[in-house]
Amino acid sequence: MAIIEVVNVDKIYNDSEVKVTALSNINLKVEKGEFTAIVGPSGSGKTTLLNLIGGLDSPTNGKIRVGDVWLNELKGSKLIDFRLRNIGFVFQSYNLIPVLTAGENVELIMQLQGVPAKLRKQVSADMLGKVGLADRFASRPAKLSGGQQQRVAVARALASKPQFILADEPTANLDGKSAENLLQIMEHLNRTEGVTFIFSTHDQRVVNRARRVILLEDGKVKSDILQ
């Protein structure tokens, strides 16, 4: 069974006087272990789709299943708790907490999950090791490069042991070398540990590495290609 199923999803924003249809009749299935890129021009609905799959927003019509749970059946704190235990997030601008060390940033999500302190520390060190930052456990974000910060963000997402990781433009703020390095790590995690990654991206390097590319245009799936 696919770990993500998007069924007849529309997303229409009514905030202003003009209705904006961000997504229209989206139907998708994502299997476990996929390395999928959602691409498309600005305003095509990539981030909106990621927000809907991540439970940060709800569709106007249609429904989304993650694992065996339909997200529209979850409300309030149940949805937040579901996100905490099932979905990993990597944001474009890293969003690490500046006053915490790399290790503490990774531990934070496990702290929210109620993982005991000793285990948290151990897992945190493991995760930083997996992204090649074992020696930066005690460094604060300001002391890390952009690429390193994004790798800490990946370690943080991994630490919650999610069903999949949603990465919104993860390489947009990185230079070529850092982006390449990050992609190698994510690809390695995908191949060796079966971590499912779904990216929204403009970056051709991400597209080149993705094994499935979903092209969105004007809120509709234009193509869905396995590479």
Binding site: L56, S77, I80, L84, F91, I97, L112, Q113
Partner: protein, 451 residues
Amino acid sequence: MVVAVALGLWGGVTAMALINGWVKQRIADSIQNEISHIQIHNPEFLLNEEVDKTFSFDSVAATLNSTPGIVGFSGRLKVFAMAQTDRANSGLVVLGVKPSSERSVSGIPNKLIMGSFLEGDFTTPSIVLGKKAAEELKLVSYQLTDSIAQKFSIVEPKLVEQIQPLVGKRYRSRSSFMNDLRAELEPKLFNHYSESIADSCISFRLNGPVVLTFQTPAGELHSAMFRVRGIYRTSNTAFDARMAYVNFDNLATAASINPNHVHEVAILCKGNTDAVNVAKTLSATHQNLKVRSWDEISPEIALYAAFGDFMGMIYVVIILFALAFGIINTMMMSVLERYREFGMLMAIGMNRLRVFSMIMMESVFLTLTGGVVGIAFSTVFIKIFARTGIDFSMWAEGFEAIGYSSVVYPEITISNYVLITMLVVATGILASLWPARRALKLNPMQALRVE
């Protein structure tokens, strides 16, 4: 925010300590210099304070000697007199006292700025006046000496040259001294230094004659001459203007009052609370006399304590109000600056209650840190100034006109500390509610887009 809380707490504690210090000092001064702890009178004397309403001193002295809790007592005669000098006259309340007894109940003998307190054997009876009364009776003169002029050379060297023509001259009135001073000094220097020069040059005419006119028990007016042997000064100008002290026997003779009788017995006890109990005991023993404790004699003094607490709380509330705005502003800025951080935390799975608790905990922690710093700072401040006092002598005239000393010794109790600390922490918590609520309302999706 830590600094704001620390300063707020320091301000609140200091304001309360200053008010406590002033109030306690006012009460202590009143009891020590003016009213004592207990007064005993013939009940009829209290109606119109008529000179013939006396009572036998011996009838109470034996009881007072054997009553525990009494530090000292003094029998007094009290007449209302018109005082005249060659240049002015003024109404006075004249107390006839025995110097040794009076020293055991009153601080006035220790408040002399000149002369002695009715000691010494003189042909003409002695009178001790307050500084203000002496000024009103024009028993002062102004004389600039070389040593006074030299003192001012430290602050303004050219002043000495300009005031040199006045050295050695003696003036009977402040206005004539000031006129000459104005003629010699540059206007700027005159405006700046004239008052302090005049105050330094003041000297009282010791041994100057004062004629007191008062009523005798027979209803006749009698005049007697006294000579000024001492000038006292308290922190209460109004008291200094009206109370004069003469020797008991001199007044008894002059007013034809039985020397074994008194108008008033003033009693000093070990403490303010003891006094109330002693007064009750004495009242039961001497039912024909009116025994009043300090809070009955001067209810306004008793009210000072309650009023002081009330005023202190008003200051504290004003400071807390300002502090609350500071905290709201700081915490709101903190929330807005970390909007994306909160958005990320909510996106990855931190629930709203936890975000709210986090902001509140942060505020409480900062408030407590500021509180500890503020308490430490104010404790040191109060400890230092409780010993040295804070000198407000620039405004001494104003303070003393309403009976307060211009030097205040701040004082604070543990309960004041506890109360203020609790109020500051409560303010910190309450003031954080709004920013925390603001954070609760954020939409993680929008917050993550904030640049």
